[in-house]
Every structure is written in C-alpha cells, then in structure tokens.
C-alpha cells in the first residue's frame, strides 16, 4: 500500500482484502505485538502491574495468533473475530485442561483497558476524507443512534414478552 493520500481514497474492498490480518501473518504478528504492548501499558492504571499482567497479555496474544492461523487454514471463510472469540471460549470452558489457570491469568487484564488503545489508534489514524464524511453525516448519526437504541430495546422487549 502506498502511503500517499490518494491511495487512501481508493481504500476499497479489494485493498481491504489484502489487508486482512490473516493474509499477512508475519507482519500481523509484529503489529499485534506492538498493540499488545500498548494494551499492556494501558492496563497498568486500572488493571494490574506490568509483571502481573504479563502472562494474561501473552495468553491473549497467543489466542489471537491461533485464531488467525485457523482463519488462514480453514477452507470456508469466517472473520478473524469469530475465530478468535471461539478459541477464547473453548480455552476458558470448565472442561478445557488448565482453564482455571488461564482465567486466573486473564483476570489481571482489565476488560476496558484493552479497548482503550484501540480507540486511541482509531482517533490518530482517521484521514481528512473521514473527517469530511463525519462532518457531513454527524447530526444525522445522532438521530439514527437514538432510533437504533429505541428499536433494539423495544424489539428485544417484544420478543421476550411473547416468549414469557
């Protein structure tokens, strides 16, 4: 991918396919290490000290890598998020050997602290084109958001009401 501004404008589905994490495992493993370090530090404030959280962060790293490899090897397409969550669910099931230890190590990693760096990356890597897009759609998104919340809540309540 060129670094020039115009290449970002042609950021289409085809380009995205090339960027899929599972298609470039080597590069992804390095970038993943960098983002895990960021999450690891972010976790210090409301999670656990660096050394205490190290096994937990390494487990998360390994789970993601296994998920990506599964996604790469699997004959049918499942997004990497689905693979990674599946690996994580299986590894923490009570029947899985050592799941108690895995859960204990992961407890040192704060749930929200892992997602804070993601949003920092998101804010830092928005381009001029996206700012323009949001400016154009901003107030509309507020209205749509309220409709989304209302629709989800009432939809779920009606289905649950019928089932009860």
């Amino acid at each position: 991918m060129k670094t020039h501004e115009t290449s970002v404008d042609s950021f289409d589905a085809e380009a995205l396919k090339e960027l899929r994490p599972e298609n470039q495992l080597g590069k992804t493993a390095l970038v993943l290490a960098a983002v895990c370090v960021a999450a690891w530090f972010s976790n210090v404030v409301n999670g656990a000290p660096l050394l205490d959280a190290l096994p937990g962060m390494l487990i998360l790293y390994v789970m993601v890598i296994i998920g990506l490899v599964m996604g790469r090897l699997c004959p049918f397409y499942l997004p990497s998020v689905a693979w990674v969550s599946l690996i994580s669910i299986i590894a923490t099931l009570p029947v899985f050997p050592g799941s108690d230890w895995i859960i204990a190590q992961l407890a040192a990693v704060n749930f929200l602290a892992v997602v804070t760096p993601v949003l920092a990356y998101a804010g830092l890597t928005l381009t001029g084109r996206e700012f323009a897009m949001f400016k154009q759609a901003g107030w509309k998104l507020v209205i749509v958001s309220l409709l989304v919340f209302t629709g989800t809540f009432i939809g779920s309540a009606v289905v649950a009401h019928i089932m009860l």
């Binding site: 470039q24 009570p94 859960i103 990356y121 409709l147 939809g155 649950a160």
Partner: protein, 272 residues
C-alpha cells in the same frame, strides 16, 4: 502493509501515553435527571487521538507524520483482536448459566433485529444516508459489533464511520437514554416488566446498569428478579450477540439497504 509505517514508534508511544492518561482519568459519572451520564476512558482516548490527528490539525504532523497516520488504519483491525479474546474468555466460565438461562433469553437476542427495521429505512429514505447507514443501524454499536465492521469493511470505510458515530453517541448518551426509555416504557404498563429487564441486556455494562436500575425504580417490589434477568440477558448478548450480528443482522441489513436504495433511485428516476 508498509511495516515501517505500521511499526512507527512515535505512533505506538503516543497511543500508550494517550491510553494511560485516559485510564488515569477513569470513569466519570455525571448525574443528570433520572439517570447518570457515564464517561469511559475509551471515549477520552478517541477524543485525544482525534485532537492529535495530523489530518485535522496539520501542526500535529510534527508528532505523528501524516503518512504514518494514513497508513496505520489497518492497525485497528489487529488491535481489536486481543479485546475479542478477552471478551470470549468471559463466556467460557459461564457456559452452564448460559445454557440454563433458557430459550426466552436466547430468542430475545433476535429482537435486536428490531434495530434496523426502524432505523435503517429512516436513515436511508428520510436522511438520505449512504453506506454509513449499514454500520450505524445493523446493531447497537458496542465493541463486538465494531469488531465485526472493522473486520469486514475497515473502520475507515463509510460503514466504519457509521458505527463509530453511533458508538460515540451511545458512549456519551446511551446510558442516560436507556434509563429514560426503560422507565418511560415501564410506566406505560404494556409489556411484561421481566421482558423489559431482558431487553436491558442489549447494551454495554453501563447501559444495562442504568436501564435495569430505572426499571427497579419503577417496580421496586421485583427489584432482584429484574436485575437477575438483565444480567443474564447481558451475558447472553455477549455469548450469542456476536453471532446473531454477524450471521443474521449484518446480511439482513445489507439486503434491506440494497432494496431501500434501489427503490429510492427508481423514485428519483421517475421524478426527473
């Protein structure tokens, strides 16, 4: 992917400093009327990131060069994955509760499809929105839903802009809005209060808390029961929500979007 730009140390250091600062501020609760406005660290991290974005303020190019910012977008696809792993690890240990929770809890997840039935036609037909309407309306736009959109379209696509917009609005006002909505609908006395409690489970932790607290306030006698239903529903949303979003909600939204867009273009054609 240009590895040199993706591993730019200034970018990652900036993210670490930003995240630690955001975590240090912590969760801020602002009481507002019947609910509480809840501000989470990830919101500050996003805002700080935007403020240091070289494309918005060209002076910031000294800290993070523009080419780095432009090329680093794919990092988000990767950065969300450790979170997904952490997320999945909350489901494994609770698998017995999830199985025991029963079909009503599982099926109410399908009620989340009500989201797009109302919001998508409005977004496309009334507000004339483009593909950002798909990201905005296919789900309630919490973290797992963002992960799906980021994986499929990228967070810098129109769909990504849509879901981030709803995410930010939800983070800022979702808690308050859910508290108001739940209390109001409970006062109408049309739907079973336990059904409303299950519906509270759809959102993030703070939304669930505010929503079920509002219901408990409306019907104090069944407070414990309501909180239990909301909690179990929230757990199930974590367990099944990702898959309902991925395999049902997103394809249906795509399909509806094409139909709505198609009819709109035809209508415009007839007018001209």
């Amino acid at each position: 992917m240009d590895l040199k730009l993706l591993l730019n140390w200034r970018l990652h250091l900036m993210v670490i400093v930003t995240s630690m600062f955001a975590e240090w501020i912590g969760i801020v609760r602002i009481p507002l009327g019947p609910g509480t406005l809840l501000l989470l660290p990830l919101l500050y991290a996003f805002v700080i990131g935007v403020l240091f974005n070289p494309h918005l303020f060209s002076g910031m190019g000294k800290i993070i060069p523009k080419p780095v910012s432009s090329a680093a977008g794919p990092i988000i696809l990767i950065a969300i994955l450790p979170f997904i792993a952490k997320f999945g690890s909350t489901i494994g240990p609770a698998i017995d509760q999830i199985i025991a929770a029963g079909p009503a809890l599982i099926l109410q997840e399908l009620g989340n499809l009500g989201t797009m039935l109302i919001a998508l036609p409005f977004a496309v037909l009334v507000l004339k929105m483009g593909r950002e309407a798909i990201g905005a309306t296919y789900s309630i736009a919490r973290e797992p839903n963002i992960a799906i959109i980021s994986d499929r379209y990228g967070l810098r696509s129109p769909e990504g802009i849509g879901i981030m917009g709803v995410y930010v609005v939800g983070t800022m006002f979702g808690t308050l809005y859910f508290a108001l909505l739940a209390g109001y609908i409970a006062s109408l006395d049309i739907l079973d209060i336990r059904a409303l409690a299950m519906a509270c489970g759809v959102g993030s932790g703070s939304m669930v808390a505010a929503c079920s607290a509002a219901l408990a306030e409306a019907v104090p006698a069944s407070k414990d029961e309501l909180l239990a239903f909301a909690g179990a529903s929230n757990l199930l949303t974590y367990a099944t929500g990702l898959y309902v979003s991925l395999f049902i909600a997103l394809p249906v939204t795509e399909w509806m979007y094409k139909r709505l867009k198609g009819s709109r273009q035809e209508a415009r054609h007839e007018n001209s």
